[in-house]
């Protein structure tokens, strides 16, 4: 998904390639531009090249080919310590032999900032992450969440314009992680800094980012705002990777503008929206989100194709019901329904007919 050059791009990757051994490319032809102030997340499975991209941006890895630009100037030949980019590391990388205040003062000291101003900035940064009282402690005396905040404060204390974060919340428990997700996005927007965030957690990516770049196999598969990514995935990798997804396989039977009819492998017909199928006879994977499946006959559009389904399992999850169905030979077809007073609780063994709005069902690459 190559992006066009925009003049307001702050961080730019142009045709960047990276190979560690000179044979296999870990990053293949990466083009990306991040405008100032954006919170961009690089999301992908491990080995997809997202961390390598971050390391190239920080200067710890060199690009084999291509150009990386920051604020319009190429930074390929600038060593990491002259790039002025803040970074939060996966394991926080706080200096264990220094106190919290000394940790924060470190980037200011190397910049030869005077003692008074240094202390003022350290205090402000610590207050910003609500760690003002902990300046005299050592990292080991803090909990994981507190260390996380300190690492964040340390990356921000010298007021960089760009901050990189490498899975910073991976080691925290779920509740703390959700709290920190909110705090980080809040801080980033408040300070107006550009953030490049790496994670393999898609919920994190969706909740935090202005835009998400989905990486797989060394390429960006799709780069878009979270809602677009979830509702309009452009290929089957993105559809599978972001959120829960039901997949059915078949062959395109006919295409009429915005509507396609697909014949599933067991011979049944469904309606869907053609995304990257163009001609009749092509194989396709159709993708439908579990919460967009309808089994209440009254609410189905008249005239659309429906599928026969058998209930295999019903799981009560509190706010939602998760029902597993057998549909067109697929034993893993999930339907999610909201726990509302009039909502029907399906019983295993029940037979029903399911359908959906054609535009919610996307015919993607096979």
């Amino acid at each position: 998904m190559a992006e066009s050059h925009t003049s307001d791009a702050f961080v730019e990757f142009e045709r960047v390639q990276k190979s560690y051994d000179g044979e296999t490319l870990v990053v293949k032809d990466l083009n990306l531009s991040v405008p100032k102030g954006e919170f961009l997340t690089m999301l992908g499975p491990s080995g997809s090249g997202k961390t390598t991209c971050l390391m190239m941006l920080a200067g710890f890895e060199t690009a084999t080919h291509g150009d990386i630009r920051l604020g319009g100037t190429s930074i390929n030949n600038i060593p990491p310590h002259k790039r002025g980019i803040g970074m939060v590391f996966q394991n926080y990388a706080l200096f264990p032999h220094m106190t919290i205040a000394e940790n924060l003062a470190f980037p200011l000291e190397v910049r030869k900032i005077g003692k008074d101003e240094r202390e003022k900035k350290v205090k402000r940064a610590l207050d910003m992450v609500e760690m003002g009282k902990f300046g005299g402690r050592r990292p080991a005396q803090l909990s994981g969440g507190q260390q996380q905040r300190v690492a964040l404060a340390r990356a921000l204390v010298f007021e960089p314009e760009l901050v990189l974060m490498d899975e910073p919340l991976g080691a925290l428990d779920k509740q703390l992680r959700e709290k920190m997700q909110f705090e980080i996005t809040h801080l980033a927007h408040q300070l107006g800094i550009t953030t490049v965030y790496v994670t393999h957690d898609q919920t994190e990516a969706l909740t935090m980012s202005d835009r998400v770049a989905v990486f797989d196999d060394g390429r960006i598969q799709q780069i878009a705002a979270p809602d677009t990514l979830y509702e309009k995935p452009e290929n089957s990798f993105v559809a599978q990777f972001i959120g829960e997804n039901n997949t059915l396989r078949g062959v395109v039977k006919e295409i009429k503008g915005d509507l396609a009819v697909v014949e599933l492998d067991d011979g049944e017909l469904i309606d869907c929206k053609p995304i990257n199928v163009t001609k009749v006879g092509e194989r396709t994977q159709v993708s439908i989100r579990p919460e967009r499946v309808e089994f209440d006959k009254k609410r189905l559009q008249p005239g659309v194709h429906t599928l026969k389904a058998e209930v295999l399992e019903f799981v009560y999850m509190g706010d939602i019901f998760r029902t597993r169905l057998r549909v067109a030979g697929n034993d893993d077809f999930i339907v999610k329904t909201r726990n509302a007073p009039d909502q029907k609780r399906l019983q295993p063994g029940e037979q029903l007919e399911i359908g959906w709005l054609p535009q919610d069902c996307r015919a993607l690459d096979a």
């Binding site: 920080a58 200067g59 710890f60 060593p79 990491p80 310590h81 002259k82 790039r83 002025g84 980019i85 803040g86 970074m87 590391f89 996966q90 394991n91 926080y92 990388a93 706080l94 200096f95 264990p96 032999h97 470190f106 980037p107 190397v110 910049r111 050592r138 990292p139 080991a140 005396q141 994981g144 260390q147 340390r154 010298f158």
Partner: protein, 294 residues
Amino acid sequence: MSLPIYATFGERVWYYTFRVICALIFIFLITPILVVIPLSFNAENFFTFTPEMLRLDPDGYSLKHYVDFFTNNEWQRSFKNSLIIAPIATIISVSLGTLAAVGLSQSHVPFRRAIMAILISPMIVPLIISATGMFFFYSKIGNFMENSMGLDKNLVGYIKVILAHAVLGIPFVIITVTATLVGFDRSLTRAAANMGANPLTTFFKVQMPLILPGVISGGLFAFITSFDEVVVVLFVGSASQKTLPWQMFTGLREQISPTILAVATILVGLSILLLTTVELLRRRSERLRGMSPG
């Protein structure tokens, strides 16, 4: 580790036998050192326990050998020589050894294993062989320094011994520092670079404080190596660089004076003191390090 209640008879027997074996090994190791200490307080010029000493008669003990050590010129000169040579050799060993260890810990350095093997070879090669080689090597260098650079003969002698001892000490520093570097978190140096510190600042402010325990124990080993080294100094040095071990060696052969025992006791005391200090220092920084996150 106390004996569990369900231990069988065989296990009980082994439990006590094991303890006895451990005690025997301990005695085997420590007796030769311990026996020297009471003997050094001998009132006579003998290397054996006199009947008075065995009766614990105060007349059987004296400090005369210690007095001899502190007043005899020969002993004092060699003691001073050791105090000059060992610290300087240690400083050289620590600086070069630490640099080598840090360099060899970088994954991109080619032939790391081979270089490492060469650098620690002085520890493995029999000392007498190193000493012979050094004798020829340093006599050429010594001649050059005396004749072409016009340096004082005495000074050249010291330089030769110090360099030779530094070479012997380097392997210890490399080994201990390499061991500490294994546990060193590379993301710390990356973090420092990211915050704007150049490689030199990163080394001194971040890496060095954290590998200090290894550097200190390496330095201690290097110091002890130089301080009780007798073979190389015999080959490389001349009479004016006579060190304490050298003096003890000649003392044993020529004078058979129990002053040697007094010196040995002092050295044992000194070693214990040094080891304790260093161990305390090491524990302190280990504590800071051990609490590193992750």
